[in-house]
Symmetry: C2
Subunit: 211 residues, 2 copies
């Protein structure tokens, strides 16, 4: 899964087009959408034929989460939300997604150092919540492989999308040892900041498929 | 502080114009920005002369938080972020805001029921973090006045913005007993969903100023 965290449309579409034969799915975040608008999703989908997931880490009260999901899932194939705001906030998004036949992915533990301050202590509980709510997948960190393993065990058949390989220092092979064919490794800066994004994407694809 | 959580530009500008003489500040969220774009901020500011705070509850890794803050604070006077993602993520936003002379407000405990699951247990620690980082203010709930009191005590001279009065059931007088003149009561649906937003805003203004 390519994390396409660039800021302008031209660059985003160029990288998406160049790399799309080597990726399964594209994840975009607020920076790109604030730099353009939600219609960028349609453009990426038309150009690449790939699924687009909005990594908005939605973290608001239920009524606001609902509005964000409604607007976003008019375009995107799935949306990523934070679990720490509680079950009611996640359910609000899930209700909208189910009506539109779209995916909901819940963040458990993030990949950056700050995630060890508050998130890590409750990540297992949030993984449990995600499983009980029957969301589609969770986000779990490639930067802490032991935690990734533990979270995968908790959620069972939910898929995992895992950021942290590449710029954040996670080791691809260690991560692939934990994940299975339904899961996704997220690569962002190591592709979109590379001098040759296409080559980078091809190289990661090869490493993953020959593993 | 008016929470202007409507979805379309026409409605947003109409309510902002009608109510602006009775409010101090306007808070907008992702629903309005996704329904329009960031330039809506400029339009609201030009029309009302009021400060606009973006309640984006930013909750990402530092590099992404930085990009979101950079884009948002080109327009808005301040940005609201989640403390739950840790000190590095909040600092990333604060660094951008300081350069642009804009405000950063950190969510400690939210006003909805789900906030008691994970947020409540660490809200005091996050208030401590906010104070130590010297951000400008925190978000604390009008729906749990005892918690509001406790959080205010922790942050001392940081201002508080407090949601939960009105549609969420918080009692205005109880809340005003805790807050002081530097703090903000947030009113959203009780104004923008009212049949007469102007009258509603005027009514709240009167209750607050005669308290």
């Amino acid at each position: 899964m390519l994390a396409l965290d660039v800021l302008d449309e031209k660059n985003a579409l160029k990288i998406a087009e160049e790399t799309c034969e080597y990726i399964d799915s594209i994840k975009i975040g607020y920076p790109l959408v604030l730099g353009t608008d939600l219609k960028i999703i349609e453009k990426i989908k038309n150009l690449t034929g790939k699924e687009v997931i909005c990594d908005f880490k939605v973290a608001d009260i239920p009524s606001t989460n609902e509005k964000i999901a409604e607007l976003t899932l008019n375009y995107a194939d799935g949306i990523i939300c934070q679990g720490f705001v509680g079950k009611d906030s996640v359910s609000a998004i899930l209700n909208i997604a189910r009506k539109k036949n779209k995916k909901v992915i819940v963040v458990t533990e993030m990949s950056h150092p700050g995630a060890t301050e508050y998130l890590k202590n409750v990540a297992n509980d949030m993984a449990d919540m995600a499983k009980n709510l029957k969301v589609d997948g969770i986000v779990a960190p490639s930067t802490r492989v032991e935690r990734l393993k533990e979270l995968k065990k908790i959620v069972g058949d939910l898929f995992i999308i895992s950021p942290g390989v590449g710029a954040q220092g996670g080791d691809l092979k260690e991560v692939l040892n934990v994940l299975d064919e339904n899961d996704y490794v997220i690569i962002g800066r190591a592709i979109y900041e590379s001098e040759n994004p296409k080559e980078s994407a091809k190289n990661y694809k090869m490493q993953i498929s020959t593993f």
